[in-house]
Symmetry: C2
Subunit: 319 residues, 2 copies
Amino acid sequence: MSRATVSRVVNGSPKVSPEIVAVVTAAIERLNYVPNRAARSLASRQTQAVALIVPEDITRFFGDPYFAAVVQGITQRLDESEYILNLLVASSDPTHKTMRYLRSGNLDGALVVSHHTRDKFLADVEAMIPLVFGGRPANDTGPNTYYVDVDNIAGAETGTQHLLDLGRTRLGSITGPIDMPAGIDRFTGFQLTLARAGLEADAVEHADFTALSAAAAMRRLLERRPDLDGLFVASDLMATGALAVLREQGYLVPDDIAIVAFDDSPAAIGASVPLTTISQPSAEMGFAMADMLLRLLAGETDVPHRNIMPTRLIQRDSA
Amino acid sequence: MSRATVSRVVNGSPKVSPEIVAVVTAAIERLNYVPNRAARSLASRQTQAVALIVPEDITRFFGDPYFAAVVQGITQRLDESEYILNLLVASSDPTHKTMRYLRSGNLDGALVVSHHTRDKFLADVEAMIPLVFGGRPANDTGPNTYYVDVDNIAGAETGTQHLLDLGRTRLGSITGPIDMPAGIDRFTGFQLTLARAGLEADAVEHADFTALSAAAAMRRLLERRPDLDGLFVASDLMATGALAVLREQGYLVPDDIAIVAFDDSPAAIGASVPLTTISQPSAEMGFAMADMLLRLLAGETDVPHRNIMPTRLIQRDSA
DNA sequence: TTGTAAGCGTTATCAA
DNA sequence: TTGATAACGCTTACAA
């Protein structure tokens, strides 16, 4: 039997007689044969590997339960495929090594989460291999741009409106970083809603999606506006930071200050005051990202460029 | 110029004349040449890739800041090398795909974190490629077993003793899972210390290193022993879960119940009551793991099989 | 120090 | 449907 035939069996070619398939399969089983990936990649020009690019400090990445859910969704989809996942923790100034790896033809495609406007190296990557973003990319222009996201503006509007509906009138916000679309959009939703209500959106402090930065922001906010009665925070994790400061300063939540957060991650339930929050389907988003990439890799031509998933208000105790 | 010479330059062979090196380097730069990894692996029988095997639910893995620190240390060391990291999230029953990947010669070595006694597939992996464990492996027998750990027993003894020194006499413990060495050892340290003091170690509940499981354990404990005055919890994350229940039930920490935790992760500082905890150098441990593996891959023969790092008591507010 | 040439383990093309 | 045989892009003896 020629090795060409064996190769056909291994790759499930339809044009092999059933008997031969049986014999080869048995032999493979018996010999415990596993094809060498390097040889395979070399010959087929495919690697069966995709990367998860995280242009972020790893502590921050791991620290936010939102990412845990996204990665969970990604691995879940990938588990159904033959692709494996490479973790590339690349700061905004990716190491020489990372870029080399990206261009050494070692990846069929890549997923990007938590990217900032400053991450311009991603444009180069996009030119090399299919890329799918988690969250609208900072520069949503290219014809090769694919992403999964939620309507952050609408979500923030819903959250802010909920505060208004509760009768709160002195609203503030702790935003995400203004160099990330998710940070900007949620802030925009807050502003839009306040503008519609004829209110001033000036009780605002920026943070960077960490609990620590949010705590600092909360302190600054309280100093300027000790009479706040409502707060929209751009993520659950940040809300936990804000909550800690509020308790420390004797504010009661939701009595004194009502809080609406964003994500509906485990942090929302685990918070000292269970958080009313805008839910986004994080795991499903990860799943959808991987699915989109896989379709691209399969050569499908009708893959939609964006997949905007729904958000909804989850009411708990904080507002 | 022959391609052999180019290969030598690329691989930094010492036996190439400086002028040629210069010329080739310049050409590489100009042409933006990056060697093809697959071809390289095929010829050299090396992949320059190592895996991080996580035999754990991904949510749990991401949820614990301890792992964030370990991974941070790992990537930090790997960044100095030419190796890249593959993330293999393999439950205790690894998928066929995962095992295939492991045996397809695609990895030069692997790092393992958070493993349980039930993860017997790791023995097979260890027979194939160098393996370094984060935490003493469940079956520390093989001549190929390498790991980085802290002395969990001693750490737990220090923590428990601190509670005793505070004058607390009705001590309880929320342990880690008893199918993980870290869970077992910290529990042992607690028992040993109590035995030395002539105290009964029966106010104990097992949990699984998550905040949620610890909250449940705390409830069970309080039901049985409402008069507890000291608590040793096997991780910071679990302590936050316990803290929530204690507050909910009106206990004051540390007044009513003093708590000593373990890890000294960001969760310790961020807790509603900053935690007195046993610090372990998590990031350094990750760094040491990667370093150990790299030395093994470099063919060093005198690599010590175990690297036990120090713990120390960090006093904050909870005890 | 440099070049020649033989692999490395597959897939893919082309005949048969 | 099957089998030769040529790539795939690099490393590495071995020669020169």
